[in-house]
Amino acid sequence: MSLRHLRIVAVAALLASLTLVQLPSHAQFSPGPSPESAFSIPKAQQLQPEELSRLLHGQVANKPLIFQVGSHMLFAQAHIVGSEYMGPGSQSAGLKLLQDRISPLPRKTFIVIYCGCCPWERCPNMGPAYKLLHDMGFTNVKALYLANNLGADWVGKGYPVESGR
């Protein structure tokens, strides 16, 4: 394990210790480093911003459903055109919203999730959201890889967004 990974695990442990005791249950972070880490998402399931842009603007038969699994405040400021707010994947309320939305969908539905709240390796939301989709049997899920955040890696590159809740 590299020093960088050790540092991330240490920060995750600090976060857990600071939040688990006092926060209401709906806001607790899941214990353990793997499910909440974006590292848990296989590289093959990651989608680069330019690929998503091509999917959205090209003549593609199978356009994906796009779900934002980050904070509502971030969504209100800017979100990918056509994306739906699902709530933070790090919180059980967010996962419930996502679960309710995807439950009736065919398991082959093309779904893209994204967050962009913070650097990919620090994002607490993508891992749990991806895991839920995977555990529910969805087989065509991609995770938008935003290395730094939504501002730098999507808005800053000129890809279209809209604002509002």
Partner: protein, 165 residues
């Protein structure tokens, strides 16, 4: 025909997705003013800190990178406060109660208020955390640090501004 064309253009422009990148960066401009209620019930008026160097930190409880910075900012408030530093925190959490509990638990030594998308837009869009601004004694935004930043860089810039009249 021209009128119809113009009308269509106006309609399309109105319906087009808004670009968050249209929000102007406040760098090297007078810091956008705001008045907010702090998490402990006080009044936070940015205008009251003219004459001080302000470190304005946008953060959230779920932001792992922010957790690295917060203790340092609290430490700087204590050590540089006499030289004219004022740290201000803006929580971008969706739930104020989460931020309040966290604030109390961390015993932060500076005022923290809740942010929202309007305040985010004033500061050029807070589309990724952490986001830190340094405002000089004349109320001008002199530095912007997006994402996980080497604290030594912020510290060095801070010392420069504190040494200015």
């Amino acid at each position: 025909m021209i009128v119809v064309g113009l009308f269509a253009t106006v309609c399309l422009a109105a319906l087009a997705p808004q670009s968050a990148s249209a929000d102007e960066s406040p760098l090297n401009k007078t810091a956008p003013q705001f008045v907010r209620k702090t998490l402990d019930g006080g009044k936070l008026d940015l205008g009251n800190f003219r004459g001080k160097v302000v470190l304005l930190d946008f953060w959230a409880t779920w932001c792992a990178s922010c957790q690295i910075e917060l203790p340092a900012f609290a430490r700087w408030q204590r050590s540089y406060g006499a030289q004219g530093l004022q740290v201000i925190g803006i929580s971008m959490d969706d739930d104020p109660e989460l931020a309040r509990r966290f604030y109390r638990r961390m015993k932060l030594s500076y005022p923290v208020a809740m942010g929202d998308e309007q305040l985010g837009a004033q500061y050029g869009g807070v589309l990724g955390l952490p986001l830190t601004f340094l405002i000089d004694r004349h109320g001008v935004v002199r530095a912007r640090f997006q994402g996980e930043t080497d604290l030594k860089l912020i510290d060095a810039r801070l010392k420069e501004l504190l040494s200015e009249p």
